[in-house]
C-alpha cells in the first residue's frame, strides 16, 4: 500500500462532450482519411507535377514520399494509440511541446485544412466543368461558381447532419473514384503504345530529393482521421490504423500511377513533365475518347469527398480551439441533436464558399487558383507535420514511455521535414504564396500575442482531448470520482459495484449546452 499510486480525479464527462462519443466504425474512420488525401486526384495530377522537378526519378520520388508519410504516420500513431483528440495534430502537439508550438500547429492546421478544402472545391468545379465541356456543354464562369456554392454548402450540411452520414457519403464517393482510376490505369498499362523502347530512367539522388516535396503534396490530408478520435468506436486502434493505411494506400496508388504515366510518356519529347492532362492524352492516343469523361467524373467525386473530409477536420480543430478558449468559445458548441460542432461548420463552409465564389467571379483562373491554394495548404501541413513529429518523443518522455525507435524516427524525419520546408519556401520565393503564408504567420503571431497578454491561463491549459471519464473505468467510484449517491457499499472495485447506472452521465447533467 505504501507505493499506491496517486490517482487523478476523473471527470463525469469528457471535456469534448457534445460530440457523439464512440460511434464510428473502423471503415468510416478510414474513409475520412482516404478522402482527405484524395488519392485518385493525386494519381491523375501529381505525377506530371513531380516529373517537372524529378525528371527520370519521378517514381522514386513517390517511393521516398511514401516512406516519409509512413514515418509521419508513425509519429502521429504514438499519440493516437494513447489519446483521442478532435483537435487532431494541434491537440497532439500540445501534449508534447509548449503551448506556443501547439498554437502554431493549430494555426498551421487551420491554414492546411482551409486551403485544402478550398482547393478541393475548386478542383471539383474544374473537372465538373471539363466534364460538361466534353459532353457538349458550353463553358462559362457560372458553372464553376454554382458548383462551388452548391457543393460547399452541401458539404457543410452533410458535416452538420452528423459525421456518420458524411463518412458514408465520403466512403462511397472515394470508392467509386478510386475504382475508376484503377481501371483506367490498368487499361493504360495493359495496352502500351508501340514505339521506341523506353529509356530506363536514371536514378539520380538529386532528382529524387527535388521530387519529394511535390510528391509529399499528394499525401496532405491523410491524417484527418485523427480529428475523429473522440467519435470512433475503438479509437486507439482504428485511428492509427486508418492514418497508416491511408499512407500505404495513397503511396501504392501514386507509385502505380506515376509508373504508368512515366512509361506512357517515355517516348514523348519532354516526357511526362510537359503534360497538362497526361491521363487523358494517354487515353486519346489509344483511341479511347470515353476515358476522359470517366476520368473527369472520378476526379470530381474524389475532390468533393475531400471537401467533406476536410470540412469535418477543420471544424473539429476550430471546435477544440474554442473549447480551449483560445478561439471564440462559440466554436466549442455542439448541436443538440446531430452532435456535431455546428457553429464551427456554420462559419467555415459559408466563408469558404463566399470567398471562392467572389474570387472566381472576379476572374481568377481555375487552374491557377487550384495550384495556389494547394501550395499554401502544403506549407501549413508541412509545419504541422514537423511540429507533431518533434512533439512525439517529448510526449513519450513526459508520460514515461520513451523508447529509442521513437527518438530515432524523429531524428530521421525532423531534419528531412525542415529541409523540405526550406525547399518549399525557396521554391515559392517571390510568389504570392510566400506573401500569403507570411501574412498568415504574422496574423497567427498577433493572435497568440494577444492571448498571451490577455488570457495567459487559457494558453497554459491548451489541448483538450477526450479524457477517460468515470464512466469508462471499472469501479470508477473506487477510483475516487465521487459518484453522487455512492451507496454502492465498500466497493472492492469488483464488477458488482459497477452498474451501468453509473451511466448517469447520459442523463440531463451530461450536456447542459444541449439545452441551448
Amino acid at each position: 500500500m505504501r507505493d499506491r499510486p496517486v490517482v487523478p480525479r476523473l471527470r463525469q464527462r469528457s471535456p469534448v462532450h457534445g460530440l457523439r462519443r464512440r460511434g464510428l466504425g473502423p471503415l468510416e474512420v478510414l474513409a475520412q482519411s482516404v478522402s482527405g488525401a484524395a488519392p485518385s486526384a493525386a494519381m491523375a495530377a501529381t505525377p506530371a507535377i513531380v516529373a517537372v522537378s524529378a525528371g527520370g526519378a519521378t517514381v522514386w520520388s513517390f517511393v521516398a514520399a511514401t516512406v516519409l508519410a509512413l514515418l509521419i504516420a508513425g509519429c502521429i500513431a504514438r499519440f493516437t494509440r494513447r489519446m483521442a483528440a478532435p483537435g487532431g495534430l494541434y491537440t497532439l502537439t500540445a501534449k508534447g511541446l509548449s503551448p506556443g508550438a501547439a498554437f502554431a500547429c493549430g494555426v498551421a492546421l487551420l491554414v492546411g485544412y482551409g486551403m485544402l478544402a478550398a482547393a478541393a472545391l475548386v478542383g471539383g468545379a474544374t473537372y465538373l466543368q471539363a466534364l460538361v465541356l466534353r459532353l457538349g456543354g458550353t463553358g462559362s464562369v457560372v458553372l464553376p461558381v454554382v458548383a462551388v456554392v452548391v457543393v460547399g454548402l452541401a458539404a457543410g450540411g452533410l458535416a452538420l447532419r452528423g459525421v456518420r452520414l458524411s463518412a458514408r457519403v465520403v466512403l462511397l464517393a472515394e470508392l467509386v473514384s478510386i475504382t475508376l482510376m484503377l481501371a483506367i490505369f490498368v487499361l493504360l498499362l495493359a495496352a502500351p503504345l508501340p514505339g521506341p523502347d523506353a529509356a530506363q530512367p536514371g536514378l539520380g539522388l538529386g532528382g529524387v530529393a527535388a521530387g519529394v516535396l511535390p510528391a509529399l503534396a499528394a499525401f496532405i490530408g491523410f491524417e484527418v482521421a485523427t480529428s475523429l478520435g473522440a467519435e470512433a468506436r475503438r479509437p486507439f486502434r482504428s485511428v492509427p490504423r486508418a492514418v497508416t493505411a491511408t499512407a500505404v494506400v495513397s503511396g501504392l496508388l501514386c507509385v502505380f500511377a506515376a509508373q504508368t504515366q512515366v512509361v506512357g510518356f517515355a517516348a514523348a519529347p519532354g516526357g511526362l513533365a510537359g503534360q497538362n492532362a497526361p491521363v487523358a492524352v494517354l487515353a486519346t492516343a489509344r483511341g479511347w475518347p470515353w476515358v476522359a469523361p470517366l476520368l473527369d467524373l472520378g476526379l470530381t467525386m474524389s475532390f468533393f469527398a475531400c471537401v467533406l473530409a476536410t470540412v469535418n477536420g477543420i471544424a473539429r480543430v476550430l471546435f477544440s480551439l474554442g473549447r480551449d478558449g483560445v478561439a471564440l468559445r462559440g466554436f466549442g458548441r455542439t448541436h443538440p441533436r446531430f452532435a456535431t460542432p455546428h457553429v464551427a461548420i456554420g462559419v467555415v463552409a459559408p466563408v469558404l464558399v463566399v470567398v471562392l465564389a467572389v474570387a472566381l467571379l472576379a476572374g481568377a483562373p481555375l487552374g491557377g487558383t487550384l495550384t495556389f491554394l494547394l501550395t499554401v495548404g502544403t506549407g501549413g501541413f508541412l509545419v504541422a507535420y514537423l511540429l507533431v513529429c518533434l512533439a512525439a518523443p517529448v510526449f513519450l518522455r513526459r508520460i514515461g514511455e520513451l523508447t529509442w525507435p521513437a527518438v530515432a524516427a524523429t531524428a530521421v524525419i525532423a531534419p528531412i521535414l525542415v529541409a523540405v520546408l526550406v525547399a518549399f519556401v525557396a521554391r515559392s520565393g517571390g510568389t504570392p504564396v510566400v506573401v500569403v503564408l507570411a501574412a498568415l504567420a504574422v496574423a497567427g503571431a498577433c493572435w497568440f500575442g494577444w492571448l498571451r497578454l490577455r488570457r495567459p491561463d487559457r494558453i497554459a491549459g491548451i489541448g483538450v482531448y477526450d479524457e477517460t471519464v468515470a464512466d469508462d473505468v471499472l469501479g470508477a467510484d473506487v477510483v475516487g470520482a465521487g459518484v453522487p449517491g455512492g451507496g454502492d457499499g465498500p466497493g472492492t472495485g469488483g464488477p458488482g459495484t459497477d452498474g451501468p447506472g453509473t451511466g448517469g452521465s447520459r442523463g440531463p447533467d451530461a450536456r447542459p449546452d444541449r439545452a441551448a
Partner: protein, 251 residues
C-alpha cells in the same frame, strides 16, 4: 463484436505474449488504478518496449484505460466481462413483492439483476420456468430483460457478442436492434415476441435506484407470444407498479 476470423493455432512466441498480457492486466488490478507503465514493467520484469506495446494493445481493446494524466492505467469497463457478476439473493421483502404479482397474473413473473452488465435471473417463476439462464445472459438482445440492459449502454455493441437468430422473429440486424433499443429507452418498457422461442414472449420494465435512477434489476412477465404482442395496458401498469415497489428493496 468479435468474429473468429483467424483460426490459426498459436505459434512461436505468441503463448508468451498472451501470458504477459494477462500478467499486465493482473498487475493493474493488484497495484490499483494509477499505476504507470514503468512500474508495471519493473514489477513484472518485462522489457519496457514490450510492456508499452501490451499496454497500448489492452487500451486499444478497452480492457484498460489511461487515466487523464495519460501516465496511469486503470481497468476499463470492458474488463467487467472477465469476471462473473457477483449475485446476491434478493431480500425476502422483495421476493414477497414478486410473489404478490404472481398471485395477480396468470403469466410467468421473473426477477433478474441487471446491475453487473449481465442478465442474472435471481427469482425465476417456479411455475412458468423461463428460458435457460445461460442463454439469457449470453444473448441479451433477444430477451426483454436483456434489452432493458442494452438500452442503458452508451453503445450496445459492448455487450452483444453475435446477433444470433433463434426464430424467424429474432431481431438480426444492428439497425433493427438500435431501433428496438431506442423504443425501450423512450417507453421504459422492453418487449420481445417469439424471438427466443417462437411460442413465448416477454415484457419487462426496469427497477431503478430511487436516488440516482441507475438500473439495478428488471421485472419481466412472460406468456404466449401473441398475447405479449397486444398492448396489455393493465398488465403493464401492474408491472410498473410492482417494479416501483421493488426499487427501495433492491437498490
Amino acid at each position: 463484436m468479435t468474429s473468429p476470423r483467424d483460426p490459426l493455432p498459436l505459434s512461436g512466441r505468441q503463448p508468451r505474449a498472451v501470458r504477459s498480457a494477462l500478467a499486465v492486466l493482473e498487475e493493474v488490478v493488484a497495484a490499483g488504478p494509477g499505476v504507470t507503465a514503468k512500474e508495471i514493467s519493473a514489477a513484472l520484469r518485462l522489457p519496457q518496449a514490450t510492456t508499452y506495446r501490451l499496454l497500448n494493445l489492452l487500451v486499444g481493446e478497452e480492457y484498460l484505460v489511461r487515466l487523464p494524466d495519460l501516465k496511469g492505467f486503470a481497468l476499463g469497463r470492458r474488463a467487467a466481462r472477465l469476471a462473473l457478476p457477483v449475485t446476491v439473493a434478493p431480500p425476502t421483502a422483495a421476493r414477497a413483492v414478486v410473489d404478490h404479482l404472481r398471485g395477480l397474473v396468470r403469466w410467468g413473473v421473473h426477477l433478474a439483476w441487471l446491475g453487473a452488465g449481465q442478465v442474472t435471473l435471481v427469482d425465476p417463476d417456479p411455475d412458468h420456468p423461463p428460458s435457460d439462464a445461460a442463454l439469457l445472459a449470453r444473448y441479451p438482445q433477444a430477451s426483454a430483460l436483456g434489452r432493458l440492459l442494452l438500452a442503458e449502454q452508451p453503445d450496445w455493441r459492448a455487450l452483444v457478442r453475435d446477433l444470433r437468430v433463434f426464430t424467424e422473429y429474432t431481431v438480426s440486424t444492428p439497425a433493427a436492434l438500435t431501433a428496438a433499443l431506442d423504443r425501450v429507452a423512450a417507453d421504459g418498457l422492453a418487449r420481445q415476441c417469439g424471438e427466443l422461442r417462437a411460442d413465448r414472449g416477454c415484457i419487462a420494465v426496469g427497477v431503478r435506484a430511487p436516488g440516482d435512477g441507475r438500473l439495478v434489476a428488471g421485472l419481466a412477465l412472460s406468456g404466449p407470444a401473441q398475447r405479449v404482442a397486444e398492448p396489455n395496458p393493465e398488465l403493464v401498469a401492474l408491472l410498473r407498479e410492482h417494479a416501483d415497489r421493488l426499487a427501495p428493496l433492491l437498490a
